[in-house]
Symmetry: C2
Subunit: 500 residues, 2 copies
């Protein structure tokens, strides 16, 4: 056992707080095994009771907001206003899942009457979704609350009836430890089974978790490289398990001619530089008429960067953008201000014609995590269809269009929806609402599984799997499937959806 | 290019029909690329129109029933009655998907109103499921119709709006070719885009298909070994794709004391030997009181085996059951008759005490594909909980119980539902109804993904992925998401399900 995981203040580069001990393999085994035991109890707690527990966890986190936010600000430099909002988003997320549990249709209860006369004959069938078991959750660096210890993966997995073991992110160990303390205490007070939630620290502990026989699924938010390595581990197990990774995303934005007016530039620059550009939905790739380049350039020149989450990200952003600036494939349009902080970077805007972009697609769609974007200039929107279709899978695709562009916007959407999980009209991709209709996903490498989302009500579906009861006596069926529908939930009966 | 794929008559061991040419890589590429082009057109055909096309394919297959059944009987020896029923099951499956398309809730249309006051603010969000692209379907040996060229994977993928390329199974090349001919002609006559369905032959062609960049998902039914190899290929791609494999299954049946009467034996023997035991849901593992062994043995002794689907399966069954018979872990209870046909085998029944079984779990849960079963004898049902929890993932788990066993049956179900996809009460696992509430899946190695089924209405979900439209103008939205709900389908509006 080497040193612990040390947090740093990105503004000063100095250590923050005490190092948090790396979790040895024996302890990972103990925590995962305890979570598996807790699963047996938690998975049979009624959904309405799990909802109450989630709300109590949300309340407990809200009550500790000042401590959590100030700790996170010291470790991430994301600032108090953003972190306060992010924590609220995190607790509202727990509350949305409480609502999902009470509504009840997430279990997809399905009842079929028998029919002996069709081929093949149909017995009485009743289908319901049940939790998978213990879930491993890998925290993200860039959302120390919303995609971290008590974030979306944890909230949706606990909601589903799964137990959870979180691998904390090394960029905010103290925030992770404090959040875990609040969650563990709140779960205990709410009467959830001991061990239903656990946390481990250190890269090796994360690897041990993905390989652990008690772990039945994995949620991950992070880089394409790190995600791919863990995905390969999960799929290479003797018993492969579902792995839900949200990885890299270029987030193309198409500004159509009618919308290409200078007043669009400020919104772009804000979206690009928010959180020092450390968003998976950062608008890093903008297709625009050449005439718009000066306005976009001026807007970015007026922005200020900030300290990135850790030294590695800062170095990687600088190296990547330096190499791009030095290449003859793009020109540098403008640079924002770099504040005088240890790991600070400056926003950067590049440009290249669409022909050059299309010929160098792989190189020019490399994600430079941070506040950098590439404008791809075009003369006519018709030049865009083939190149948009070739883009790597992405979380979002955005179109800015005036009334006169609507027909073209529709055609572009038909192309974009095959590479992107969310299509945005006349807005910017940063900001991901937590809602029934949200989808935060997309084809590889946006995620490792295009069917699933890590944000929104349906993210719970990643942790639940069907079981069908055939000819089972009513008294022995789960409440969701009993004849009388005692829970009063929406069900599909002989093909028809309704509360029956 | 070596020889073609040669079919054989399992009753005589003689070649049947002409060899079917193996598909060279260049042709696989052409077929997959054509399917990708066809996808663009097919994926935007209205669901109600796709429903009509599926029904026309079903009608065309029914119209060619005699030719298809007689060809399949020559290549599989499964017999005319079973194959006639299986073809009807196959066409009814196409018709169920037509019903699913018309009902329309399978796209999970979800509409959220904006709310600027919550954190984070919610814009107008509209979510719908859209087809993934071109799907590769690997046919099974044991269902030459229902899990083959026009089987469940093909039907659900075409229904979803995906295009399909089938890898034919080498055990019935002529049946595959004839079925494909009927399907292609029917699709063309119904106006579906050229190339929306294709077929390839040969192992190498299958490998090329899984690696092809145009293929966006794979469906597979077959052995654990073969499925694992293709799963690894699909996950090892530079862009991993969803792989849905239905692999091996031991299908435990627990006969509780009150139900352990001799009259249960005949149903067991029938289920075991149906189709020469070549079912993925074959009841290969029976937990029963020792007192029931003689009756089960007599019932199996009265059965007759039959010719297996191919020589390799026949040899593998014989080698596996010979080795088991020679081991001192089990005793041979009885043997059925082996008919005088080339690749015929005899049913076989083994027994072992639960303690021996639990100590040799891995060896004794090896699947011997064919009409062989192992009785695990117990004294008290309480001995079963720990061993059932340790079973490998399985498609089905069955409990036979009298009224006096109900409490125990409920406890056993709680254990079984964690390893099995379908729980059956007082019936046998063979026979898989095609219905809204069916689930034909389970944890590894029953399948490669416990969230999905290869039978039933929800099998369509394997081929569709969400896209969310944010703040998009109504006129440019897909019909499923327009304000007025012009298709009249069930949707979730602000969290509430209904036709609105």
């Amino acid at each position: 056992m080497s040193h612990g995981v040390q947090g740093y203040n990105p503004r000063t580069g100095e250590p923050f707080g005490e190092p948090v001990a790396k979790t040895p393999d024996s302890e990972v085994d103990r925590i995962a095994s305890a979570a598996a035991v807790a699963f047996s109890a938690w998975s049979v707690v009624a959904a309405a009771d799990r909802a109450v527990v989630l709300e109590k966890v949300a309340d407990a986190l809200d009550a500790e907001s000042s401590l959590l936010v100030s700790t996170a600000d010291s470790e991430t430099a994301l600032g108090t206003p953003r972190l306060t909002t992010e924590l609220k988003r995190t607790t509202n997320q727990l509350r949305l899942f409480a609502e999902v549990l009470r509504e009840g249709s997430y279990v997809e209860a399905t009842l079929d009457s028998p029919n002996p006369d069709i081929i093949p004959p149909r017995p009485v069938l009743r289908r319901v979704l049940r939790p998978l078991g213990t879930v491993a959750v890998f925290s993200a660096s860039n959302f120390p609350f919303a995609f971290s210890v008590a974030g979306g993966d944890t909230a949706s997995a606990l909601a589903s009836g799964c137990s959870v073991v979180v691998k904390a992110h090394s960029a905010h160990p103290s925030t992770s430890r404090e959040t875990a303390r609040v969650v563990v205490d709140a779960l205990r007070e709410a009467g959830a089974p001991e061990g239903v939630f656990g946390i481990v620290h250190g890269t090796e502990a994360g690897v041990a978790l993905v390989k652990h026989s008690a772990v039945r699924a994995v949620g991950f938010t992070g880089s394409t490289g790190g995600g791919r390595a863990l995905f390969d581990l999960a799929q290479g197990r003797p018993d492969p398990i579902p792995f839900y990774g949200e990885l890299g995303s270029v987030n193309p934005t198409v500004i159509l001619p009618g919308a290409a007016t200078p007043d669009i530039a400020e919104g772009f620059a804000q979206s690009l530089t928010m959180g020092v550009g450390q968003f998976c939905t950062n608008p890093g790739l903008v297709f625009a008429p050449e005439s718009l380049v000066p306005a976009l350039g001026e807007a970015v020149a007026a922005t200020s960067g900030g300290a990135m989450l850790n030294e590695r990200m800062c170095d990687s952003y600088k190296a990547g953008t330096d190499a791009l600036a030095a290449s003859d494939l793009v020109s540098v349009v403008s640079t924002g201000t770099r504040p005088d902080e240890a790991w600070a970077v400056a926003p950067l805007l590049f440009a290249t014609p669409v022909e050059v972009f299309e010929q160098n697609l792989e190189k020019l769609t490399e994600e430079h995590f941070g506040p950098a974007a590439l404008i791809v200039t075009y003369s006519s929107p018709s030049e865009l269809h083939s190149v948009l279709a070739k883009l790597p899978g992405t979380l979002t695709g955005t179109v800015h269009a005036a009334e006169s562009d609507h027909a073209e916007a529709g055609e572009i959407a038909e192309v974009l929806r095959r590479v992107a999980g969310r299509l945005i009209f006349n807005a910017w991709p940063t900001g991901v609402a937590v809602a029934w209709g949200q989808h935060h996903g997309g084809p590889w490498p946006a995620t490792t599984n295009p069917l699933h989302t890590s944000v929104g009500a349906t993210s719970i579906r990643r942790w639940i799997a069907p079981v069908t009861y055939q000819s089972w006596p009513d008294a022995l069926l789960p409440a969701e499937l009993k004849d009388a529908n005692p829970l009063g939930i929406p069900r599909r009966v002989d093909g028809v959806l309704g509360v029956h």
